[in-house]
């Protein structure tokens, strides 16, 4: 009896608040993200203006730092307080972890209506859907196994872009002889891990999958893994002594200026080259990490929609749909350096590297060699990712030998699961 009364009251209150909400603040979305640098933010501004044309107010909640780490901390507090944002920029396994907590919204009706399932690569859907339900709109696909080479430095080192490990070493040696820092690198755990996963991938796509996606202890403890660490140690010899703590964009700057020969970094590095007025093909060359041609390790920024009050759901769905709009996907990714998260976006607006990226993605998708990037949260949950980063970084800094690193890697992954 009493409970029914309470329920009725609650329903009344809910209805009242819905109408009140509509009257006061029409439609709003609050968006938590960490795209605060010039290019990214102006790319996102396209989305904001798009929504505002449709009468949706954008409440901006930017939190930069640590590739979204600070934003994720803020999100925990927000969700715990029952004050979740409408949409949150998120990566990989974090999305699934939040979905497990039962705090995300269901976007099935928008997704079905617009046919997302047909245009979003399956490897991405693994993170945009949970339990068969759509929960997020993917914005872009970054791929991480790129190498950016200064054209002049490459010409001085023979002029041929390396296609396998031995050729890579030959080029690096030559660059060293020429008196530049062959490998421009920043010593931060995620950067070390970005190089590491490319090295693992170059030792075989199956090996990458079983070691860094399936976390198979046998692969993690194998001789091949020791080979991977040996290669990391070899690469370390081409990095200058001043590398630790260097931000990735400063490493890019070294390649741009020519004091560094090449950088192993995801496609976001391209923006740095373009902003410095460099042209792909003329001033710099973009290649896949030697030995990983045909395969792509990706990470994908997605806007995860959280459960919000009924008054905000309409705007939330409008935003989900606006993110998937091919025009926005093209406009955003041209600026960001990534490629669209849907495969049916025309490539006219993209430069050579961007076109190559889109082609590689489509190929890798169809041939089954599109893998989640471990270093960027698409290979394994955060605990495992960081445990692997720890080992890779310690080894790269000479705190562990390759044998110790293999052993430590196996144990650390087991302990973190």
């Amino acid at each position: 009896m009493i409970t029914r009364k309470v329920a009725a009251l609650a329903a009344c209150a809910a209805m009242l608040s819905v109408t009140a909400g509509n009257a006061v603040a029409a439609d709003t979305v609050e968006v938590l993200h960490w795209w605060t640098s010039g290019g990214e933010a102006s790319a996102l501004n396209v989305l904001k203006e798009d929504l505002e044309k449709k009468g949706v107010t954008w409440q901006d909640m930017p939190v930069a730092g640590g590739g979204g780490e600070a934003a994720m901390t803020a999100l925990r507090a927000r969700v715990t307080a029952g004050n979740a944002p409408t949409a949150v920029q998120m990566l990989g396994f974090d999305i699934l972890d939040w979905a497990k907590e039962g705090v995300v919204a269901n976007l099935n009706d928008v997704a079905d209506q617009e046919g997302w399932g047909d245009v979003v690569p399956a490897a991405l859907q693994r993170f945009s859907k949970y339990d068969g339900n759509w929960i997020a709109s993917p914005v872009n696909v970054h791929s991480t196994n790129w190498v950016w080479i200064n054209k002049a430095a490459l010409d001085a080192a023979g002029g041929k872009a390396p296609e396998n490990w031995d050729e890579l070493i030959a080029v690096l040696d030559k660059m060293k002889e020429n008196g530049i820092t062959p490998l421009a690198h920043g010593g931060q755990p995620w950067q070390d891990a970005t190089v590491f996963e490319a090295v693992v991938l170059s030792l075989g796509t199956d090996f990458y999958k079983s070691a860094l996606n399936d976390l198979d202890p046998e692969a993690l403890g194998s001789d091949k893994m020791k080979e991977a660490f040996d290669r990391m140690a070899k690469l370390r010899t081409y990095v200058d002594d001043n590398f630790s703590g260097r931000d990735w964009n400063l490493a890019s700057a070294m390649v741009i200026e020519g004091s560094g020969g090449m950088q192993m970094m995801g496609d976001w590095a391209k923006g740095e080259f373009l902003k410095a007025g460099k042209k792909p093909g003329e001033d710099f060359v973009c290649i896949r990490f030697p030995g990983t041609q045909g395969a792509v390790t990706f990470n994908s920024d997605q806007f995860v929609m959280f459960k919000v009050g009924e008054d905000k759901q309409k705007a939330q769905k409008m935003m989900a749909s606006a993110v998937m709009d091919p025009v926005f996907q093209s406009a955003f990714n041209v600026v960001k350096g990534s490629v669209p998260a849907r495969t049916d976006v025309p490539n006219d607006a993209f430069d050579d590297c961007g076109k190559k990226g889109m082609k590689d993605l489509a190929e890798a998708n169809s041939s089954g060699t599109l893998f989640g990037s471990m270093a960027h949260g698409h290979g394994a949950p955060a605990a495992v990712k960081n445990a692997i980063n720890d080992v890779v970084t310690q080894h790269f800094n000479g705190e562990l030998t390759s044998e110790e690193a293999v052993e430590e890697l196996k144990n650390a992954v087991a302990a973190a699961q």
């Binding site: 780490e69 907590e101 931060q188 630790s244 605990a383 445990a387 970084t393």
Partner: protein, 292 residues
Amino acid sequence: MNRNRLQHIIPKLVLSPSLALILIFVYAFILYTFYLSMTDSRMLPSYGFVGFENYSKLWGLRHWWRALSNLAIFGSLYIVICSVLGLFLAILLDQKIRGEGFLRPIYLYPMALSFIVTGTAWKWFLDPGIGLENTMHQWGWTGFEFSWIKDRTLAIYTVVIAAVWQSSGFVMAMFLAGLRGVDSEIIKAAQIDGASNATIYRRIIIPMMRPVFLSAFVVLAHLAIKSYDLVVALTGGGPGQATELPATFMYSYTFTRNQMGIGASSAIIMLVMIFSIIVPYLYSELKPGRQR
């Protein structure tokens, strides 16, 4: 009579909101964290009880041991250098210095800035590529070398340099206040007895600074254990894990690695460390108060 009773209730009434807030926001939270440390919490709190498993995992992590040994190095150097430097500067400033009013805020201001602000400047300064080493090279001293921040074994000392920069001025102010509080009659008497200035400081004044040393120790010890943004801004814990401290460890396990259980257990260990320093101090401080 009635009024008198009221007079005795009012103080307790006024005090009670503060006490209630602190009981909830501090002590209940500590209990809650202790409970979390015994659960399988990962991204958000969850309440599957696992006993002391997180603690045994914690003590099995190299990372944690590294953080503790770094804290030992960092904490002891930081406390000693800040205290000695603070006292030294306070004594110098106490020599009837012209321009004291000008120098004092210069020594003090670092305490006013957060490391989000000064971290970048320090990072630059310590970076051999763009900082001091590079500048010295440009000035012609090409043999100059200062690349500690890039060195696994030395990086922790650069954290000490920046931390001392931030807090030593504050310690100086504490000592200066202490020195100003010394009864000038005592010093005059000693001077009449023919004691030299150095003797007066060594034998009389510095021993009288005992309570200031204690206060400074408590303030510095808890700052050392809580040091977080300093490390994040300066080195991010690197190179490798060379500058990881318990506070950065705890934050990273609780909030970025989704291993809240282990994070909570490390927080409890930190609390035990802090309280084992503070509680005896408080006890000794409050005991004479009782006799007052």
